[in-house]
């Protein structure tokens, strides 16, 4: 029966090409617009590290200004950490793994004389960074704790930089000159493009990951420039790097890996105890307000999905709604236009339910066609967004199979919903009245 209805549906679609084209176009445009925006929102709110997102916690300590006004009684502690606190937590080693990190911009001098130096972004971090955030290597691996302790000048290169500097070959053991000092290559990363860049949303949730990784202690020791956000509630007390490191300036992102709830509770107790202890030393003047947020909680807290994107999502859903009303109207026109046919089939013994199924199948067919076409339009829409926004959204405009299935599913469901009322109307036509007229 199904194939027969399918055939009837196709015939009917072909009989009114203009009306059918209008319907398919309306659904396609609605789906296209909607899916373009949904994709952007979906990518913005996607889980960058699904396997571990519930075990990775962003750590916030409230070391902030006692005079800071609280908006509606809820003070958000600083999103970054001071050097004193980050080092204390690193030293305590109370979490399964923990890393403090920040960002620098360095100049890389290639070996060849004719090659010009260029700037690279660097993440200054600890040995645990690599296993903790699941980074994969093409060659070598991360450095170990000893390298952190002994201020070894080691470097992990991204795949792209290894390509650019060493032509993609195994560069383990080679030297790279960074801002006037040599570093030894210990690892070359595989592709690593988490979206959002969850481990440092402060400096751009959708910016590219850093190009090289060096030990945090080395960056501090040699006073490498800090290129991320630095926030101070209190002026730095005195000149020089020592004074800065001991200041209340927050510039470090701190993450801890806690494998289960009990580890989380213990860690929370530990940082609260640390804060109490700091209070006795005259720091942490605000009430106790430390936070542990896992990856997705942190993305939400930081409002990684921009308001503009959410506004557009709302508007695009309304847009789809308009397209659906349009389709309802057109389907209604179409089905009622077929009153004669329907009456004839009814008179020849077709039951209402079989007519219902027949017309729902026809609606579904329109939806399928609209969905496929809409998918193409969504692809065009995403290219358009890429053109408008440029490289900033590069990571945001690709559709995965979830989005493709969503598009087609959404189209079919929409068309079926749109077809419900017209079908019901068509099925309740009394055959006698129609047949008489003929």
């Amino acid at each position: 029966m199904f194939s027969y209805y399918l055939k009837l549906g196709l015939l009917s679609i072909r009989r009114n090409p203009l009306l059918s084209a209008l319907m398919i176009a309306a659904i396609a445009i609605g789906i296209g617009a909607c899916m373009t925006i949904i994709t952007v929102n979906y990518v913005m709110s996607s889980n960058p590290i699904p396997t571990k997102s519930e075990q990775l916690f962003h750590v916030q300590l409230d070391s902030w200004d006692p005079n800071q006004p609280e908006d509606d009684g809820n003070f958000e502690p600083p999103d970054q950490m001071t050097y004193i606190d980050a080092m204390a937590l690193m030293k305590a080693q109370k979490a399964y793994r923990q890393v403090a990190s920040n960002k620098s911009s360095l100049v890389l001098e290639p070996q060849g004389d004719d090659e010009r130096p260029f700037s690279v972004t660097s993440r200054n971090t600890w040995a645990d960074f690599f296993p903790m955030f699941d980074l994969r290597f093409v060659h070598g691996g991360g450095w170990d704790d000893a390298s952190d302790r002994n201020l070894e000048r080691v470097v992990v290169l991204s795949k792209e930089i290894n390509e650019r500097v060493f032509g993609g070959e195994n560069s383990i053991g080679r030297r790279v000159r960074l801002s006037g000092m040599d570093y030894q290559v210990v690892g070359v990363l595989d592709e690593f493009h988490p979206v959002p860049k969850f481990f440092d949303v402060t400096n751009g949730a959708f910016s590219d990951p850093e190009e090289i990784y060096i030990p945090f202690n080395v960056a501090v020791e040699y006073e490498l420039p800090r290129n991320g956000n630095t926030n101070c509630w209190k002026p730095v007390d005195g000149d020089g790097i020592e004074a800065f490191l001991n200041s209340e300036c927050a510039w470090i992102q701190f993450w801890a890996e806690l494998r289960d709830n009990s580890e989380k509770q213990e860690y929370m107790a530990f940082i609260n105890a640390y804060a109490e202890q700091q209070k006795e030393l005259g720091r942490f003047p605000r009430p106790l307000n430390n936070r542990l947020n896992d990856v997705m909680e942190w993305m939400e807290d930081q409002e990684v999905v921009e308001d503009d994107a959410r506004v557009m999502l709302g508007l695009s859903i309304l847009f789809l709604f308009v397209c659906l009303i349009n389709t309802i109207g057109l389907l209604l026109a179409k089905f009622l236009g077929k009153s004669g046919d329907i009456s004839l089939r009814r008179a020849l013994g077709a039951s209402r339910s079989s007519l219902f199924i027949q017309h729902m199948i026809e609606s579904g067919l329109v939806g399928l066609a609209g969905g496929v076409l809409g998918l193409g339009l969504a692809w065009l829409g995403l290219r358009g967004i890429e053109m408008l926004f440029g490289d900033f959204v590069e990571n945001m405009v690709s559709m995965d199979w979830v989005m493709v299935l969503t598009a087609i599913g959404l189209a079919i469901v929409s068309a079926l919903l749109a077809g419900l009322y017209p079908t019901w109307r068509a099925c309740s036509i009394a055959p006698a009245g129609q047949l008489k007229l003929q």
Partner: protein, 403 residues
């Protein structure tokens, strides 16, 4: 007018009319709110920066060699740049207005850590700063060469003079901005700094910040390792000067790299890219939406004309002129559209209230609603004109035939 019969005929087939009206209403709600968002973005983008934007460009210089002498490099770079033909003036600074990166501080009228300062964007400049930016000094005087200090990266001392924007003066001295001149205010909680000049307008680094127009200039050269030059050229010379400057700086000193050379126009474009893209996307959406709605009207009206062919023929046979038939369908659409835009006005306001609450957007300007109503009524009339004309050309003879 035959409103009575039209109304009664519509009531016999309500669904089609309701669908069209609903479609027009939602279209209007989306359209007006989208236009309102566009207006808001446009207002944001069209705030004047106070700078001589079209003749400005910036280029970054990053020293990397161990023995890189930044101070000498900056002094020589500036001398070379200022001597170059086509260049009006040039400064070395920490950041470029509108660029998205920069430095902010707080200024307060009383010293003390417990007092909240007024947030302000800060640029390090020398006595050439005002001329390079092209900003207009309203009161006080420019820095002199002897005011300009050199600052290391981790330094905490501030010079004793600053020039601020009028917006900053107004924020600190709301009663009389002009009284700010000569006042001593405090930076870094306790360090006194005297306001020696007020400029009319200048924008800071972050367009989304509410303190965007609060800016202070301090007479200092920075020794931060990485620096940026801002260069003002003679009108029309910018594009020819830019490559020359890049070459000059790259060749002068091999211990540093120069990068990120951008004209102020490009910096502005990059900075407002999401706003201008949003405007384009919304414009496209509105056009598409109106197209879909009018196609829907065409489709349904055609259908209704087809269904009523016999009826129309009968009316024609009974003496109705072509014009009367045309008017019938035009009036029918007008009634439906009117219902649609009235419902639309309510939906528009409702959606706007929702958006204000959820996304803190601004309220729609009142005139958008009547304008959109008129526009959609016109769209409806245009869309229905084709089918209506087809209806009016149904020959009276149809009435005598069976279908």
């Amino acid at each position: 007018m035959e409103i009575g019969p039209i109304w009664r005929a519509m009531m016999r087939n309500k669904t089609g009319a309701i669908l069209i009206a609903l479609q027009i209403a939602v279209t209007m709600a989306i359209m007006v709110n989208a236009i309102s968002i566009m207006q808001e973005k446009d207002r944001m983008m069209s705030r004047p920066s106070g700078l001589d934007e079209h003749n400005l460009f910036s280029i970054a210089s990053v020293g990397f060699a161990k023995d890189f002498n930044e101070r000498v490099t900056i002094e020589e770079d500036l001398a070379a740049l200022r001597a170059m033909p086509g260049i009006v003036n040039a400064i070395q600074s920490n950041a470029v207005p509108l660029s998205g990166s920069g430095w902010s501080m707080g200024l307060q009228t009383e010293p003390g850590a417990e007092i909240d300062g007024t947030g302000v964007g800060l640029y390090f400049v020398d006595e050439h700063g005002l001329d390079t930016y092209g900003v207009n000094l309203l009161a006080g005087e420019n820095f002199s060469a002897s005011d300009v200090a050199w600052r290391e990266r981790a330094a905490t001392e501030w010079p004793d003079k600053t020039i601020i924007t009028r917006a900053m003066a107004e924020a600190m001295f709301p009663d009389d901005w002009a009284s700010a001149l000569g006042k001593t205010v405090y930076i870094a909680d306790t360090q006194p700094i005297t306001i020696t000049g007020i400029v009319e307008k200048m924008q800071g680094s972050w367009p989304g910040w509410d303190g965007f127009e609060r800016v202070m200039l301090v007479p200092t050269h920075t020794l931060f390792g990485a620096t940026v030059y801002l260069i003002r050229t003679e009108p029309g010379m910018r594009d020819s000067v830019m490559p020359q400057v890049e070459e000059l700086l790259a060749d002068r000193n091999k211990d540093r790299i120069v990068r990120s050379m951008r004209s102020m126009d490009e910096i502005r474009e990059r900075s407002y890219r999401s706003e201008s893209s949003m405007i384009k996307i919304l414009t496209f959406t509105i056009v598409l939406l109106i197209a879909i709605t009018s196609l829907g009207i065409v489709g349904l009206a055609s259908f209704s004309v087809n269904r009523r062919t016999r009826q129309i023929g009968t009316r024609r046979a009974l003496g109705a002129s072509k014009l009367v038939i045309l008017r019938y369908f035009m009036t029918e659409n007008f009634i439906i559209s009117l219902g649609g835009v009235l419902l639309g006005a309510a939906l528009t306001v409702g959606l706007n209230i929702l958006m204000i609450e959820t996304f803190s957007l601004t309220r729609i300007t009142w005139y958008l609603v009547p304008v959109a109503m008129l526009l959609l009524l016109a769209v409806g009339q245009i869309a229905v004109f084709g089918p209506a004309r087809r209806a009016s050309s149904v020959p009276p003879a149809v009435a005598t035939r069976t279908v």
